[in-house]
């Protein structure tokens, strides 16, 4: 099932290999999207608040957030988003290698919409991307961020 609209996704990820891999996975999963990438937590917040270089950046429909980030880590970014009345409705999917249970419970406690452990194999990763494509872009009606 393909979405007819182009959706904006913000990927907060410091590892270029992972960025590329995510892009490839979206490509393989045939998801029409605009993937915006920032490499650290502070940049993510600037992007979301349309500050500095990101003054013209579109509001993302979905945020993919790595937990392990330089400067401001993913947990802090998640907390900052969920405490910001403007931003808190944007769904955040935590996308990480960590299987640590405290990370998982803490993320959900901070209102992460979903928690996905990055799989080792590419096939599984593509599977994950297409599964949340189906879940997030079809089943769940995303809140209208313009509201």
């Amino acid at each position: 099932m393909e979405g007819t609209e182009m959706i904006d996704i913000l990927l907060v990820e410091d590892n270029p290999g992972d960025v590329r891999l995510t892009q490839e996975a979206f490509k393989e999963g045939r998801l029409r999207n605009q993937l915006h990438v920032v490499m650290d937590g502070e940049a993510a917040m600037q992007y979301l608040k349309q500050q500095g270089d990101y003054a013209a950046a579109p509001r993302p429909d979905l945020i993919l957030l790595d937990l392990n980030l330089p400067k401001m880590n993913g947990r802090e970014v998640l907390s900052a988003i969920k405490h910001d009345p403007d931003l808190k409705r944007i769904p955040v999917v935590v996308l990480t290698t960590s299987q640590d249970e405290t990370d998982i419970t803490e993320s959900y406690r901070q209102f992460a919409s979903s928690y996905i452990v990055k799989p080792v194999s590419m096939e599984k990763f593509i599977g994950v991307v297409s599964s949340f494509k189906e879940y997030w872009l079809s089943v769940v009606k995303l809140p209208n961020v313009q509201e």
Binding site: N15, G17, D18, L21, E24, N68, T96, T97, S98, Q99, D100, E101, K118, P119, V120, S121, M122, E123, F125
Partner: protein, 678 residues
């Protein structure tokens, strides 16, 4: 020392004196001779004598009442002195004051007495002396008053003892004294009670002392009083019967007195000897006790002191001298203020005060410099009581606890270090789970991407290489995850609690359901006890061991038997299989992490399962071991602590073995965990 144990004795005696005197007066009034003379022919107690007793007895009684005003008894005593002096003056100055029959006429007339109704001279003397002794209390020395009373006592006794003689010889013998029998008894009683009552009793105390001296003095006094009297009376009686001539009577009396008194004195000497021996023994015991006490105190590594309730040091030992830096002779007799530094002094004084007020043991810790080195002390102070339970001194023991303190501090540091290193290990586990896996994902993901995108451009070798690279990365990831599981046994375990081992086995088998079905494994389970365990971890042990038994199966379908016995408060579980077994020389190696006995091609797995089992079992204070022979199967044993209060008959009975295990529901996550573990 015999005190007057009966405090009312003087009162009782004075009442007795008053009662007898009143009865005698009644006797005179009613002319009853039995009251005045007791027996016909004996001298009578004169009415004035009875009056004298009433005055003296009354004075004594009033004195014993211990009224705030002393003048009443003093007035009575003075009256009795005046009255007795009047009675006596008639003899001294050969007067007749006409008072002899003032109360009642004395017309019994059957005793040959000088003057009818006149109180006898010895009685008058006794009255004067007794009244004087009473009045001179606190004025004359007790020694002198004692002499006066002793004269009275001897007077009374001599008259009392003369009665048996006069009975033998005839009453006329005593017409010169004329003191009645009951008069003599009352006088003796009054004199005796006044002697006993005196504050400074002098030789009276010697006689009454509750020791060898008192005992011997009493024996000798009794012998000296009784022997001549009885022998004298006997000889006198024989002589009066004409059995003995006067000369022979006297000499036999002398010989008999010598013999008896001599015997008594020798017997006494034997007594004294015994007393002396036991005294000597006591002294030597005391000396050796003192020596033992000194040796204990002086050789104690702790500083020990005794001080008076006023705070003066009575005894100190060498360590205390070192502690305060002063020799004993500069400490004994001094007080804490002279000895302790201002730093220690407040604690010392406060604890003394606490011991004195609470009469209980008090402890405190203090720091002091010993030979320039700062040391810690634990001071225990305690009250010491005498036989009456009165607090007489304070003891203190200063124990050097510097080493203990250092050790405790050292232990605390080590503990901190351990906690830190534990934290670091946990951190490592997190790093392992996250950071180490990132590059692996990169390798395997891009390899896979390479393979899928460029398959048509690659030859067979290239594809093989890619597969090896992907396989290696995936194995590496599994190793990391296993390592993580291993490290989490300690950090994420739950506190042990009573668990039904059977429940844990069922959980484990449920997770292995698919593999059990696929291999047709037959599992029998005996009765299993309750143990104290983290239930998930116990299940993990069963699961790993059963999974191993299935994995290393032989040609035949796996047969696995789970049982348990009880040994020394532990449940000893056994898991026996009919698998391939292994050489006994590897028994230790197989519990080491990532150690494998079989090739990866034949049997999958990283070699983490048994290492985790070992770690879990050891976390529960248990042991794990294995018995095996190649081709004969393996039997794993491990122990978990039993639930303490279990009834002893929870013994495991092989006969009650039951065929097991029914189809459980599918549990996906547990199943996955089981897969990963192997």
């Amino acid at each position: 020392m015999i005190a007057i144990t009966n405090k009312d004795l003087p009162k009782k005696i004075s009442l007795l004196v008053l009662g007898v005197a009143l009865l005698v007066l009644v006797g005179w009034w009613l002319q009853l001779r039995v009251l005045t003379s007791i027996l016909p022919g004996l001298p009578s107690m004169k009415a004035n004598t009875a009056l004298g007793f009433i005055l003296l007895g009354g004075a004594l009684y009033l004195r014993e009442m211990r009224l705030p005003q002393t003048r009443w008894w003093k007035l009575l005593a003075l009256l009795s002195l005046v009255f007795a002096s009047l009675l006596l003056s008639q003899f001294v100055f050969n007067l007749n004051l006409g008072i002899d029959q003032a109360l009642f006429p004395d017309n019994f007339g059957d005793v040959q007495e000088g003057l009818p109704g006149r109180t006898s001279a010895p009685t008058a003397v006794a009255f004067v002396l007794l009244a004087l002794a009473m009045l001179t209390e606190n004025r004359l020395k007790d020694r002198h008053r004692q002499t006066m009373i002793l004269v009275v006592l001897l007077l009374g006794l001599s008259v009392f003892f003369s009665y048996p003689f006069s009975w033998v010889y005839g009453t006329s013998l005593f017409s010169y004294t004329g003191m009645a029998l009951h008069t003599s008894v009352l006088i003796v009683l009054l004199a005796a009670i006044m002697l006993l009552e005196m504050k400074q009793r002098g030789w009276v105390d010697l006689i009454l002392a509750n020791n060898a001296i008192g005992q011997n003095t009493r024996n000798l006094l009794a012998a000296a009083l009784v022997t001549p009297f009885l022998l004298g009376w006997l000889i006198f009686w024989l002589q009066s019967r004409g059995v003995l001539q006067a000369g022979l009577a006297s000499s036999s009396y002398a010989v008999l007195v010598m013999l008896f008194l001599g015997a008594v004195i020798v017997l006494n000497a034997v007594n004294l000897q015994t007393a002396e021996t036991s005294q000597r023994l006591l002294r030597s015991n005391l000396a050796s006790t003192q020596q033992q006490f000194n040796a204990l105190v002086q050789n104690s590594p702790s500083a020990i002191i005794l001080k008076s309730t006023q705070g003066q040091y009575q005894m100190v030992n060498l360590p205390f001298e070192k502690l305060v830096g002063l020799p004993a002779d500069q400490v004994i007799g001094r007080i804490a203020e002279d000895i302790f530094s201002s730093e220690l002094l407040p604690k010392v004084l406060l604890s003394d005060q606490q011991v004195l007020s609470s009469k209980q043991v008090v402890s405190f810790e203090a720091q002091a410099r010993l030979e320039g080195e700062k040391r810690s002390y634990l001071c225990t102070k305690f009250p010491m009581f005498d036989a009456n339970g009165d607090l007489v001194s304070i003891g203190a023991i200063w124990t050097d606890i510097t080493e203990q303190k250092k050790l405790a501090e050292h232990l605390g540091q080590k503990n901190e270090e351990l906690e830190r290193s534990n934290k670091e290990l946990e951190q490592f586990a997190y790093v392992a789970s996250h950071d180490l896996q990132e590059p692996l994902r990169m390798v395997s993901s891009y390899m896979q991407l390479l393979e899928s995108r460029y398959r048509k451009d690659l030859d067979g070798d290239a594809l093989d290489f890619i597969n090896y690279a992907v396989d290696g990365a995936q194995r590496m990831q599994r190793l990391i995850q296993d390592l993580l599981s291993f490290s989490r046994v300690g950090t994420q375990g739950q506190p042990p609690e009573p668990v039904d081992a059977r429940q844990a086995v069922d959980d484990a088998l449920q997770n292995l359901k698919v593999r059990i079905e696929e291999t047709g494994a037959k599992i029998t389970i005996a009765d299993l006890p309750q143990v104290v365990a983290d239930k998930n971890q116990l299940a993990q042990v069963f699961q790993n061991l059963v999974a191993n038994a299935i994995k290393f199966r032989g040609e035949a379908a796996p047969k696995i038997r789970i049982s348990a016995s009880q040994v020394d408060g532990f449940a000893e579980f056994s898991i026996k299989d009919n698998g391939i077994g292994f050489d006994a020389k590897y028994t230790d190696r197989i519990f080491v992490i990532f150690q494998r006995l079989n090739s990866r091609e034949l049997y999958e797995g990283t070699g983490i399962g048994l290492a985790i089992c070992k770690k879990i079992v050891e976390r529960h204070s248990g042991r794990i071991w294995v018995e095996s022979k190649p081709g004969k199967g393996s039997q794993f044993f491990f122990t978990f602590p039993l639930v303490p209060e279990l009834p002893p008959d929870y013994a495991l009975d092989a006969q009650r073995e039951t065929q097991v295990w029914q189809q459980p529901q599918n549990d996906e996550s547990a199943q996955q965990r089981a897969d990963r573990m192997l």
